[in-house]
């Protein structure tokens, strides 16, 4: 079942979520251009993240499946957790972990991703409510 429709509130939620996912993609892509120039292995992992955010954003525009919403929640939680891990524990460098600095862009995109998770959860609940109502009818 797709989350398309669902009234004006549902549509607003979807478009807001799509916009956030797209913003997250753009920030990650900007980071690719910066990090790749520092060292390729620092930029390359950001490409699949950006690509997934882009696919999620477009999918949200057209009414995502429940599966896609679930994927969006888990994926964004994972990305936000990875960000926290690399800033609290670090990334492996030789035999130790090196903490990455907290920058404006990475902090901003993490906030975007957390808000996106909230919207996606709300969309899932909305979908479940509509499904339940449909059964009652």
């Amino acid at each position: 079942m797709e989350a398309r429709g669902g009234g004006a509130r549902g549509a607003r939620l979807r478009y807001a979520a799509a916009a956030l996912a797209f913003v997250a993609e753009l920030i990650h892509l900007w980071a690719v251009t910066q990090e790749f120039a520092v060292f390729p292995t620092r930029g390359l992992p950001l490409i699949p993240i950006a690509a997934c955010q882009g696919v999620l954003a477009m999918s949200l525009l057209f009414g995502p499946s429940r599966w896609m919403l679930g994927f969006g929640v888990l994926f964004n939680l994972l990305v936000a957790s990875l960000w926290a891990f690399t800033r609290i524990v670090g990334v492996p460098s030789g035999e130790v972990f090196v903490r990455l600095p907290v920058g404006v862009a990475d902090l901003a995109v993490t906030v975007v991703e957390i808000v996106l998770v909230v919207l996606l959860v709300e969309l899932m609940r909305d979908l479940r409510r509509r499904k339940w109502k449909g059964r009652q009818r």
Binding site: L26, V32, V38, T41, M58, S59, G94, E95, V98
Partner: protein, 517 residues
């Protein structure tokens, strides 16, 4: 299967967002690197300018025990390439900085004043210096105009004390043997770009042993500060900093991860200069002040026999001269050599070449000596130069430390798998103790220990090479080789660093602490 207009639009947008945009961003990143890689210096005809010699700095005052100097680190411009102006950061605003001449047993105090926009730290390379004057990377002199604190990227944890504001007095006891030393910037994360902009100069420590030798003196004793730079079209230095202001993110573009190799060779700040010489002996104190480039110096034409007679190394005079056909010199190493131009007829033009590069590479040429006149030569290279060097005995070694120099997945360089951390102590040699350090690397690294001099005792399990002779403070460790050195940790208690002297490696964390306890 039928595709609706809506389905087509959805697939198209997903493809654009999921594939085209990411690929495009990679293209932008690649283009950024490509632009930097394509920069080539304006063409300069080699051997068109005479070799300059850095001026000797005069002390501001002296007393019974001490010579006091004042050096201001500031921006200025220099005509390095003919007809173009280059902004430099220089000690006293010149590049290379003025030469400091010191005497063994006489203290030197240098007041370094920082009129640059960024923090600095000055290291006397090869100096046996108390820790507070050694130029620890986080012992910074903040700019004169700075308020409290320092610019963010330059401050670091674990500084030995308060940062200095505006100026700092560095105290050099000069209780070591006479030697060719040099001073240069050593600030945390930014040593590479700041030395590249010009913060380097010679420090010649003389003693009575050297005075008594009939080696070439006066105008026939010449410092040769060799380095490589790349210039933009307008004459400015090109350095691939991530943040060219040097106030933000440290580091260089990925394609310069292995080091900054310039396409123009400078000697004493002049591109491929020439020097007119008589048909006599000359003493050259050669310093490789390049960030990353190693040279294999040779004379062309080469006279019969070995043309370079080495009389001194990093740590001062050898006990006996060593003759070389070629001189391999890695960043920060010094070779004190005598060349006898009487082997050439007057009128010969003798090129100093760099055999490390192919003949058509501009970096394969260094400078030229033009033998232009005959002169009587009273200098001699005696068979015995200095009393037998007081090397420690291998049997005295209390500890053997294994140190692996390697790179990491995220572009940092490390020692024993650990990038530099000012707050972590990596070795604690006892004051007066002798240790063997086994240096192994997965790439070519010139390794420098602060405070101590050492003897190279083996290379790859074999005897050291002729160029390893004498006391050293920097040793070239080629990829895959283990070099064992023997050092006595005397002089001062306190915290020092050892690191790779490829300055881009150093800035990208190939450094570690040791504390003499």
């Amino acid at each position: 299967m039928r595709i609706t207009r809506r389905g087509f639009l959805k697939l198209g947008l997903m493809g654009a967002a999921g594939l085209a945009l990411p690929v495009g961003s990679l293209g932008v990143a690649g283009a950024r690197l490509g632009v930097a890689d394509a920069i080539a210096s304006p063409r300069v005809e080699p051997f068109g300018v005479p070799l300059p010699v850095p001026p000797v700095l005069k002390p501001a005052r002296t007393d019974k025990t001490t010579d006091y100097y004042e050096i201001t680190q500031k921006k200025d411009t220099a005509e390095i390439l003919p007809g173009l102006e280059t902004e430099i950061w220089g000690y006293e605003g010149i590049f290379p900085g003025p030469t400091v001449e010191a005497r063994r047993g006489r203290r030197v105090v240098i007041r370094q004043t920082n009129e640059l926009a960024v923090p600095v730290s000055t290291h006397l390379h090869g100096g046996r210096t108390p820790p507070e004057s050694d130029g620890y990377p986080t012992d910074l002199i903040l700019p004169t105009k700075a308020e409290n604190g320092s610019s963010s990227a330059h401050s670091g944890p674990g500084s030995m004390g308060e940062n200095s504001h505006g100026s700092k007095d560095y105290i050099y006891p000069n209780e070591q043997r006479g030697a060719t030393l040099w001073y240069h910037d050593h600030s945390m994360d930014f040593t590479g770009p700041q030395v590249y902009k010009g913060l380097a100069g010679m420090y010649i420590l003389r003693d009575e042993v050297e005075d008594s030798l009939p080696l070439p003196k006066g105008e026939k004793e010449v410092p040769l500060v060799i380095c490589d730079r790349t210039f933009e079209e307008d004459g400015s230095f090109f350095y691939p900093s991530l943040d060219p202001s040097l106030e933000g993110e440290p580091g260089v573009l990925a394609s310069y991860h292995t080091g900054m190799f310039g396409d123009t060779i400078l000697v004493n700040g002049a591109p491929w200069p020439f020097m007119e010489v008589s048909n006599t002996r000359y003493r050259f104190r050669i310093l490789n002040a390049s960030n990353a480039r190693r040279y294999v110096l040779a004379l062309d034409p080469s006279p019969s026999g070995k043309p370079f007679v080495q009389v001194g190394s990093d740590g001062g005079l050898l006990d006996a001269p060593v003759s070389h056909q070629r001189i391999p010199i890695s960043p920060a190493e010094r070779f004190d050599v005598v060349v006898d131009f009487s082997r050439y007829p007057v009128g010969t033009k003798v090129e100093l070449k760099n055999l490390e590069e192919d003949g058509d590479d501009p970096a394969s040429r260094v400078m030229r000596f033009d033998v232009v006149r005959e002169e009587k030569d009273e200098s001699v290279v005696p068979e015995k130069l200095a009393p037998a060097l007081d090397f420690p005995d291998l049997k005295e070694a209390e500890v053997t430390r294994e140190l692996r120099f390697s790179s990491s997945l995220i572009g940092m360089w490390s020692i024993n798998g650990k990038p530099f951390d000012p707050g972590r102590m990596d070795a604690r040699p006892r004051l007066g103790s002798t240790e063997v350090w086994e240096l192994t690397s997965n790439a070519d690294h010139p390794i420098h220990l602060h405070l101590v001099h050492f003897r190279v005792i083996s290379r790859g399990g074999k005897k050291p090479l002729p160029q390893d002779a004498g006391w050293k403070d920097t040793v070239y460790v080629p990829s895959g080789e283990t070099v064992r050195v023997l050092a006595r940790f005397d002089g001062y208690r306190g915290r020092y660093v050892f690191h790779c002297h490829n300055l881009e490696h150093e800035d990208m964390m190939m450094m570690a602490n040791f504390e003499v306890v």
